[in-house]
């Protein structure tokens, strides 16, 4: 059958369905990361572990007018989606770029947007699972009672707000080496999480850190998430969204520069 087909020009065959390529890219990117404990465990286990320790095991006092178990869902939710997005894009892109696998894919007819879309969908799926697991724990063991609509809006906010961190991951992935990428991610991820009040309630942070926080994207995402459960403090929602979109655009710009740099290296 195949020996017959070689005698015909390939253009007579219909082009493969781009949607199907994107679907398979996303599916296998997801499976790949799910089976890599460094990714799946670190991005899903840590937010859950923090929630169990600081939310469920330690006391049940109130923070910002709501119970700790509710308060920590937006906080660790932001922490979780940020980790899933950063590691999912930056670490895999840096490794693919640095160790030749991206070149194998580029030599094939795969459209480049399928590659990026695959990573995006994979990150969004992990982010969604992260938030749903926190909510489930809260509902089951933390005495959390949120109306279904509020819970749904919380999930949507966090998942939509994870996209700027995918952009940030691309920016890091284009500049970090395959082995240094995890370290570079953590240099941004952990201090930003702390200063944005994801580990310690924002009002307990020193004043100068609170002043820095308004420049940090996780602060804006967490404030949007807190608003959904009635614990928002900072300015209007629109300002937070604008900050996140601006941040995403800057990151995409940096990623584009990195992409151009790679192209130039190839002549």
């Amino acid at each position: 059958m195949s020996s017959v087909s070689t005698s015909m020009p390939a253009v007579t065959f219909p082009r493969p369905n781009p949607l199907q390529i994107c679907f398979k890219e996303a599916k296998y990117e997801f499976l790949k990361c799910l089976r890599t404990p460094m990714y799946s465990v670190s991005t899903m286990l840590f937010p859950i572990m923090f929630y169990v320790l600081f939310g469920l095991v330690m006391g049940r006092q109130m923070i910002g007018g709501i119970s700790t178990t509710v308060y920590l869902i937006p906080a660790y939710g932001t922490f979780g989606v940020m980790g899933a997005s950063l590691v999912g894009t930056a670490a895999t892109l840096a490794s693919d770029r640095g160790l030749g696998w991206l070149e194998v894919k580029k030599a094939s007819p795969m459209p480049m947007y399928a590659y990026f879309l695959g990573k995006l969908v994979m990150s969004v799926m992990f982010s969604t699972v992260d938030v749903l697991m926190l909510l489930t724990l809260g509902f089951a063991f933390g005495g959390v009672h949120l109306p279904a609509l509020v819970a749904a809006k919380l999930v949507l906010t966090l998942v939509a707000g994870s996209l700027p961190f995918c952009a940030m991951g691309l920016a890091i992935g284009y500049f970090a080496g395959p082995t240094s990428a995890p370290a570079v991610i953590n240099i941004f991820y952990l201090p930003m999480s702390f200063c944005s009040g994801l580990w310690m309630p924002f009002m307990f942070l020193p004043k100068f850190i609170q002043k820095i926080a308004v420049f940090l994207p996780p602060y804006h995402l967490s404030q949007l998430a807190f608003r959904q459960v009635g614990a928002g403090q900072g300015g209007p929602a629109l300002w937070h969204w604008e900050s996140l979109i601006g941040f995403a655009l800057i990151c995409l710009g940096v990623a584009w520069v990195g992409h151009q740099r790679d192209q130039r290296a190839n002549g």
Binding site: S2, G98, V104, G267
Partner: protein, 314 residues
């Protein structure tokens, strides 16, 4: 539609050019990888790019795959730009890669790559050609070196391409695995595919290639069939243990060159019989005589040792 530019494949030795590097120079910063490089690939043939590490073989392949752009000169594949998606649907590539996603299974890798192509082979065909039927559910990270190379080979062929680029396909394989891959490559040639292969195993070029281009330091220094290349260094090699000084051996009829090789000498002879008669009559103690044909390896060493002579042969 670029339909008119797509060349039909008629089978082996129709001598149509399907891919070409014309006067290509490629610099990486101040490092010159290729200089005024002319290379063409003919339909249905296996062309081997043979050269030492760093000669420019991989650069030539990446130019033909559209992964690199030439500093100057022209690259065409199926009469078009190799970086166009439509060209890439007819091309398969096996590159040297540092790391392949290890947690995906063999069949999953093939399923994904097959989806990129308009007319891929079926999963079972791909697995059969690459000899991976028993390994389809294994994760890439659990495979041996030879099995990993076979998966990369499978990804190169799964789209049923007309033109296949194999960059050092058997590097690091043991003899059995190498011969298995050779069989798979021969099988593809018998189905009318065109193959470009880089190698520094001379035996490999000799065993597989219709044509060989010998590259050194970014230029082609010799081109022809394996036997034409071998004919460059005519004659035979005689290895023996003798007390005769090299100057004396060099004066024997039929001897071209002599060099010491541990306790023995290796004599390059264009007339082995005369050389042997001379040797035996001059040294009654001579021992350990071996006579072998000069292989592609000797031709290759001779060609890459003497650049000035090689340049005239282009």
């Amino acid at each position: 539609m670029p339909t008119a530019q797509v060349l039909p494949i008629h089978g082996r030795r129709s001598h149509q050019t399907v891919a070409q590097l014309q006067d290509v120079t490629k610099n990486f910063g101040s490092v010159r990888a290729l200089l005024d490089f002319n290379f063409s690939v003919r339909t249905g043939e296996l062309t081997a790019l043979l050269g030492p590490n760093g000669a420019g073989k991989t650069t030539a392949i990446k130019l033909l795959l559209g992964l690199l752009r030439p500093t100057s000169g022209h690259v065409s594949v199926f009469g078009a730009d190799p970086s166009q998606a439509i060209t890439r649907t007819r091309v398969g590539a096996m590159l040297q890669v540092g790391r392949v996603p290890e947690t995906l299974r063999v069949a999953e890798h093939i399923d994904l790559f097959s989806s990129y192509y308009p007319n891929p082979l079926s999963m079972s065909e791909t697995l059969a050609i690459a000899g991976l039927e028993d390994l389809r559910q294994r994760r890439f990270g659990d495979l041996s070196g030879g099995q990993k190379q076979r998966v990369l080979f499978a990804l190169a062929i799964c789209g049923n391409p007309d033109l296949l680029f194999l960059d050092e396909p058997t590097v690091g394989l043991d003899v059995a695995a190498r011969h298995l891959l050779w069989e798979e490559i021969r099988h593809l040639l018998s189905r009318g595919k065109t193959v470009v292969l880089t190698t520094h195993y001379l035996e490999e070029a000799d065993a597989l290639a219709d044509r060989v281009a010998v590259i050194n330091k970014g230029s082609i220094i010799a081109e022809g069939t394996p036997s034409e290349i071998k004919a460059r260094t005519a004659g035979k090699k005689i290895r023996c243990i003798t007390q005769l000084p090299p100057a004396v051996i060099r004066n024997i009829k039929g001897v071209m060159d002599v060099r010491a090789d541990r306790e023995a000498v290796v004599i390059q002879a264009n007339d082995a019989e005369s050389a042997l008669r001379g040797l035996l009559s001059l040294d009654l103690e001579i021992s350990g005589i071996e006579v072998t044909s000069a292989g592609l390896e000797d031709a290759f060493l001779a060609l890459t040792r003497d650049d000035s002579q090689g340049d005239q042969n282009v």
